[in-house]
Symmetry: C2
Subunit: 225 residues, 2 copies
């Protein structure tokens, strides 16, 4: 019996935010196969044990409660495992991350990337997001955001965003290094913690690399991967 | 001197969620003109007093703190004003609402509505969102979500989403009545509370109606407004 069940697609993307927090909390979890998620998600809302629109969905086996929406899951998990230091800032960073994920997938593949649209994004909004986080990281001083010896929720979120992106899509790493070197270093320190490195090791050779689907294919193409 | 300053576009949309909570909390706030927001938003992140990407941005004049991202602002305000009963559910509803706003504007106007795309949305995802919330509202019993005499954060969020949408875009009201009659009734009860009715009265004859821009024009066109 695990502590939690995480229903999500077999991709990093939004899932890695939750996996980072679960791993940092030393919690155990299982991830059912995609057909179980599809079956649950496809039921009429009135027939779902927990009415929800889309994954991620986390079931807490201690309380029996289900919860959807990545930001709500992260705040709930981090509260339960005492990883929240500054809930306002932490939730703001989670929402930033969620926006970046929307943007880098052109809203879950509503459009695909081509050379022109990618060149614009990689020259404007993506570096701006990096610079915004860099300014926040620099204002917090060296070390982790909250000054302790262990990464807390804010650090985990920045790592799940920027390390996952540049680790799974390495051609983006120089852009992060240019626009957000302190954020990159922070994200790397977090990702290399033993519990998080162990979680990530399970993904090393897996595909999809990042967000899956045709949008991942178009991303890889514009990145020359 | 007001309690807060809200930087946002002069439209309902995301702003009304914050205005609902501010009004319910009987807080005072001002909203600077758009050029002040544009100037703040356009500065390099390292030069912004509070590095952020996009409005809404709320400044709390008691603490001096700024905060961006609608879900973070709502949770912070509601915590400060004792409007949070179930933070997991409340944040989940806020994130649902944020997704609905993305979807009904085709991701802030990344594409515009035409008859075909709207017919699909209005027959599939929009009613599904309504049904999901209807199932949650019905499970909570009659009255407000948390059973008290006053609307709390969860109620305010549902009203800011569904009442604002159908009040500003009345052709959508029958769809809500069909798929989520209990949610519609709850949203109306909230919106008619004196403090909230007074806030809304200031918007009665204003344009933009809902989300502004070319996407609002395309919405009005497919809705025959």
């Amino acid at each position: 019996m695990t502590d939690y069940t995480l229903y999500y697609w077999p991709i990093p993307f939004r899932g890695h935010f939750i996996r980072y927090v679960l791993a940092a909390a030393e919690a155990t979890w299982d991830e059912p196969a995609t057909d179980a998620l599809t079956a649950l998600k496809s039921r009429a809302p009135g027939d779902q044990p927990y009415p929800f629109m889309a994954p991620p969905l986390l079931v807490d086996h201690e309380t029996g409660r289900s919860l959807s929406q990545m930001p709500a899951i992260l705040m709930s998990l981090a509260r339960a495992h005492e990883l929240v230091v500054d809930p306002d800032r932490d939730l703001r960073l989670i929402c930033d991350a969620s926006d970046v994920l929307f943007e880098i997938t052109r809203h879950h593949g509503a459009a695909l990337w081509d050379a022109e649209s990618w060149a614009d994004f990689a020259a404007t909004r993506l570096p701006r997001w990096m610079q915004v986080h860099e300014a926040l990281v620099r204002a917090s001083g060296a070390g982790f955001l909250d000054g302790g010896d262990e990464p807390m929720l804010g650090d985990l979120v920045l790592a799940a965003l920027w390390h996952t992106m540049t680790d799974r899509l390495p051609p983006l790493d120089p852009l992060l290094e240019t626009h957000a070197p302190a954020t990159r270093a922070l994200a790397l320190r977090v990702a290399e913690r033993p519990a998080l490195a162990a979680m990530r090791a399970g993904w090393a050779d897996r595909h999809p690399l990042y967000c899956g689907g045709r949008i991942e294919a178009s991303l890889c193409e514009v990145l020359g991967m």
